[in-house]
């Protein structure tokens, strides 16, 4: 009798804040012994305490049986503790649930309304398919209870049971319909809620209820129910377009008259999402003028997203995004407002504004939007950007100014066209400084990785939409992508690499610019060293290497290109990336040779020999590398060979360099022919990208029948009749010796008849000469 009550437990926990875990352990032991007692009060107090401990994260499954015992208690207070425990810790496989069937049945039929209500609630939460099947009828019986308090709970319970026992829906549906006429508004509201939930999976089935719901919508004052009905209509109108016309009137009425913001919002949302704004009938607004329904909605929506209340702004932007997707012309003039929302300190609002604004991108607005988003990425407080160390950081205030100022003209803004190649990378020195002037303080919304990822994706999406319909300047786009490599702060390397490749390959004019930027990327040591850790920088550099290799003839070649494409971190990249680098290096090398052969002299000859020698040394280092070996380079048992595609390319390269080395072994006045022609390996034919669907578009030639077999049917080799042994002669013997080398005699004979083996004239002639197996003397 001196067991601790729940209050005692809580007080004890508060007193023992420092050794909470120990105290809880002790309490759990006490509970375990209390729960075994036969006294129901003791048990129920123990269960009560367990309910509390469950909230703190302690598993209470071991007491499931005891929970059922307490559920069976005749006293209401104890009973509901048991039900609470059940709702918290039972799951679909809990075996003690079977024991509970009869007791729940008893409770559902109880005269005490409180017991019925607690049983309904508990059953709704723990229902399993078996329990649902067994107790469905009992729950249905409760639907007719005299008290509305019970009826409304029964409706929800039956909904949950139907989820586990779908066959019950047939029986439930008419009763559900009946409850819509129930005198008590709470019961009607519950019925509407249940119908809304059911209609989410299968709206068509509930279309017949539409007239009744329509009537309820016009007559009720219960805002919660009205909201539910309005939301339900949003899912019904797509399947029944005539409904839109009927709803047009009442909805516009509600929109103009209601004072509840929540209801107004839902009406506008439904009008947009259910495409009721598509109905061309005009409505009269609150001052009696006739305007288009869509206009009315757009106007009312302004109240939301321009409101001072953040919540209203948020929901306003959500619906604005929906409206933008369906009727962009109504939203176009809101560009400025949404742009302002993009600066909001609230991350949720920013994300919503981002989705609206990326839908609004057009040729005119594109670079303003992108500029704004980029400046958000750069001016983050906690993400550290890596300033480039390889280029002189000429302070390029013009560029950083263009990022910050709102009034800068919307023309070309980023790096790009500067002749010296000074770019954002160098301007970043000044941007890093200007960042200090930015908002000081803790992490802002721009630091959230989800937001940054969304921003990068939005920028890329806006520019690339509809095959670059919005872009007027591709060089600017490439520059933006390169900037994103540095400023993103999240793992978008794959995306950026793909986009760079896409635009470089498709747009011929931008290739030269692109290659120039790629060279800058590859020569940035910091970036390259980051790539050795893998991840997004490696993927971008891989693409950069490919582009460099493929289009290097567009730029003046330099001997450093080759070294750049075989960076020291190469062996730490993955197989495919390594292969790309090596292949690009070969292309760059041969290109440089061809270039240099144009002005051949002794110095050039020495340079060629030097570069060739150093490249050979690098290659042999790489070939000797084993991935996963020990530090001292000794091949350990865990070392694996270089991936095949890498080692084969490396060997090609080695052969090429050897050939060049041989060709240049003596100084000559003219460049060796080899140097001039090696690059032809890669430029003999221009290969254009082929679309994925291209293969299927190739027409089959006339008369091609792919289904008929090429030759006759393949014989079963066991039934081959060997030809009679030929007369043994000297000639055939020597030929025989020659023919013994490959395969077996029987195999050869089988091949003669086999459909897919090409008939070599020689063989058929010989086969006849071969002596038979039976002739071999045993």
């Amino acid at each position: 009798m001196f067991e601790k009550s729940l209050t005692d437990l809580i007080q004890g926990l508060r007193a023992n804040k420092r050794n909470e875990a120990d105290y809880i352990q002790k309490s759990l032991e006490e509970i375990q012994s209390e729960i075994q007692q036969s006294d129901m009060h003791c048990k129920s107090t123990a269960i009560d305490k367990l309910n509390y401990l469950h909230m703190l994260g302690y598993d209470t499954n071991w007491a499931n049986f005891n929970a059922v015992e307490v559920m069976a208690s005749p006293r209401f207070g104890e009973k509901r503790k048991g039900y609470l425990a059940a709702a918290q810790s039972f799951h679909q496989e809990t075996d003690v649930l079977m024991l509970a069937t009869n007791l729940i049945r008893k409770d559902l039929a109880s005269a005490n309304a409180m017991e019925v209500s607690v049983a309904l609630d508990g059953l709704a939460q723990v229902a399993t398919p078996e329990l649902a099947t067994d107790l469905f009828d009992d729950a249905m019986a409760v639907l007719g209870h005299s008290r509305p308090f019970i009826r409304k709970k029964a409706l929800v319970c039956l909904y949950r049971l139907v989820l586990k026992h779908p066959e019950g829906l047939h029986a439930l549906a008419p009763l559900l319909r009946e409850r819509l006429d129930d005198p008590d508004p709470s019961v009607v509201s519950s019925a509407v809620s249940v119908i809304c939930e059911l209609a989410r999976t299968n709206p068509r089935n509930y279309l017949p209820l539409a007239p009744k719901l329509y009537q309820l919508m016009n007559s009720s004052t219960n805002n919660w129910m009205l909201i539910k009905i309005v939301k339900l209509f949003a899912s019904l109108t797509p399947i029944e377009p005539r409904l839109a016309k009927k709803l047009h009137g009442p909805l516009s009425q509600l929109i103009c008259s209601t004072s509840a913001m929540s209801l107004l919002y839902e009406c506008i949302h439904t009008a947009v999402v259910g495409d009721i704004i598509g109905v061309p009938l005009p409505v009269t607004d609150s001052v009696g003028r006739e305007i288009d329904f869509a206009e009315l909605c757009a106007r009312k929506l302004v109240l939301f997203y321009e409101s001072a209340d953040h919540n209203l702004r948020y929901v306003g932007l959500v619906t604005l995004a929906q409206l933008q997707a369906r009727r962009p012309e109504l939203v176009v003039n809101q560009y400025e407002t949404v742009l302002k929302c993009l600066d909001d300190a609230d991350l949720s609002i920013r994300m919503r504004a981002l989705s609206v604004i990326s839908g609004m991108a057009t040729r005119r607005t594109l670079d303003r939007t992108v500029k704004k988003l980029m400046s958000q990425l750069i001016l983050s407080n906690t993400i550290k950007l890596q300033p480039s160390s390889s280029l002189p950081s000429t302070s390029n205030t013009e560029y950083s100014g263009k990022y910050n100022s709102e009034t800068a003209d919307s023309d070309l803004f980023a790096l790009a066209t500067s002749a010296t190649g000074a770019s954002l990378i160098s301007a970043r020195g000044s941007i890093v400084q200007s960042r200090q002037l930015a908002v000081a303080g803790g992490p802002g919304p721009a630091d959230s990785p989800e937001y940054r990822l969304l921003v990068v994706e939005a920028i890329v999406d806006m520019c690339a939409r509809q095959s670059y319909a919005n872009l007027s300047n591709f060089e600017w786009y490439v520059a933006v992508l390169v900037d994103l490599v540095y400023t993103a702060g999240v793992d978008v390397g794959q995306l950026l690499g793909e986009r760079l490749l896409d635009v470089t390959v498709r747009v011929r004019q931008v290739r030269e610019f692109s290659v120039r930027l790629m060279r800058q990327l590859l020569s940035d040591c910091q970036l390259v060293s980051r790539a050795s850790a893998g991840g997004s920088a490696a993927k971008v550099l891989c693409t950069a290497a490919y582009i460099m290799g493929e289009y290097c003839p567009l730029l003046p070649a330099s001997s450093e290109d080759v070294a750049m494409l075989l960076p020291s971190c190469l062996s730490s990249l993955d197989g495919e990336q390594q292969a790309t680098f090596v292949q690009a290096a070969i292309k760059a090398y041969t290109n440089w040779l061809r270039d240099v052969a144009g002005y051949w002299n002794t110095e050039v000859w020495e340079l060629v020999r030097a570069v060739t020698a150093s490249t050979m040394a690098q290659l042999s280092d790489l070939l000797a590398t084993r991935t996963g070996g020990d530090d001292d380079g000794a091949a350990s048992e865990f070392a694996t060979e270089l991936p095949l595609q890498v080692s084969s390319r490396l060997r090609h390269f080695v052969e090429i360099t050897k050939a060049v080395s041989v060709a240049t072994s003596n100084p000559s006045d003219n460049a060796p022919q080899l140097c001039l022609e090696l690059h032809e390996l890669f430029t003999a034919y221009e290969l254009n990208p082929v679309s994925i669907a291209a293969q299927s578009k190739v027409p089959l030639p006339e008369g091609l029948d792919l289904d008929s077999p090429i030759g006759g049917p393949i014989p079963d080799t066991e039934h081959i009749v060997f030809p009679p042994p030929p007369p043994v002669s000297v000639h055939s013997e020597s030929r025989r010796r020659g023919s013994q080398s490959s395969g077996g005699r029987r195999q050869r004979k089988g091949h003669k008849n086999e459909a897919f083996y090409l008939d070599d004239g020689r063989d058929s002639h010989r086969l006849a000469d071969l002596p038979d197996v039976d002739d071999i003397p045993v």
Binding site: R80, S186, E450
Partner: protein, 161 residues
């Protein structure tokens, strides 16, 4: 449908956790921790809709989970709902729930929630059953709660020996 109702204080200590989907205890605690971390960062001037929670699904508004919360004194009341619920409606519902607590406890404060945690559950049961809202009228809610209390009082007199 309402997926879950959470009440916790500024330090993240739970005062009530109720999940209307059957998920394991560890996962429940993880969700609680993540939502607390996200919510505690937001000042009161920001909107009451949370995005960016990963353990309950993606952060876009098209996904099925929305997190709607209100901050009262030292407590956060969080409702996790799916797309069938109206966001502004749920905000009103949280207000109704808190007012119901206020009626039952008379000027409810965190201490009441700590010591009468089971009663909070039973009050919540009158508003939300198995994830669906069954009552939004304050009078009805407090009437039902009082009726249940009447049943307990005489029973507790018997149980003490």
């Amino acid at each position: 449908m309402i997926k879950s109702v959470l009440i916790f204080n500024q330090l993240g200590k739970p005062r009530l956790i109720k999940f209307y989907e059957q998920i394991g205890t560890t996962q429940q605690q993880e969700i609680l921790r993540e939502i607390h971390a996200l919510v505690a960062k937001r000042p009161d001037t920001q909107c009451n809709f949370l995005e960016g929670c990963q353990s309950m699904g993606s952060s876009s508004s098209d996904s099925s989970h929305r997190i709607i919360y209100r901050h009262y004194a030292t407590l956060y009341f969080v409702f996790v709902v799916d797309s069938s619920e109206s966001e502004l409606g749920i905000l009103d519902l949280i207000q109704v729930f808190v007012e119901a607590l206020d009626r039952v406890f008379e000027n409810v404060c965190e201490l009441d929630l700590i010591f009468h945690f089971d009663e909070i559950h039973y009050i919540l049961m009158e508003v939300v059953e198995a994830g669906m809202v069954i009552e939004t009228n304050l009078t009805e809610i407090s009437r039902a709660v009082n009726e249940a209390k009447q049943q307990i009082k005489p029973a507790s007199e018997h149980s003490r020996l």
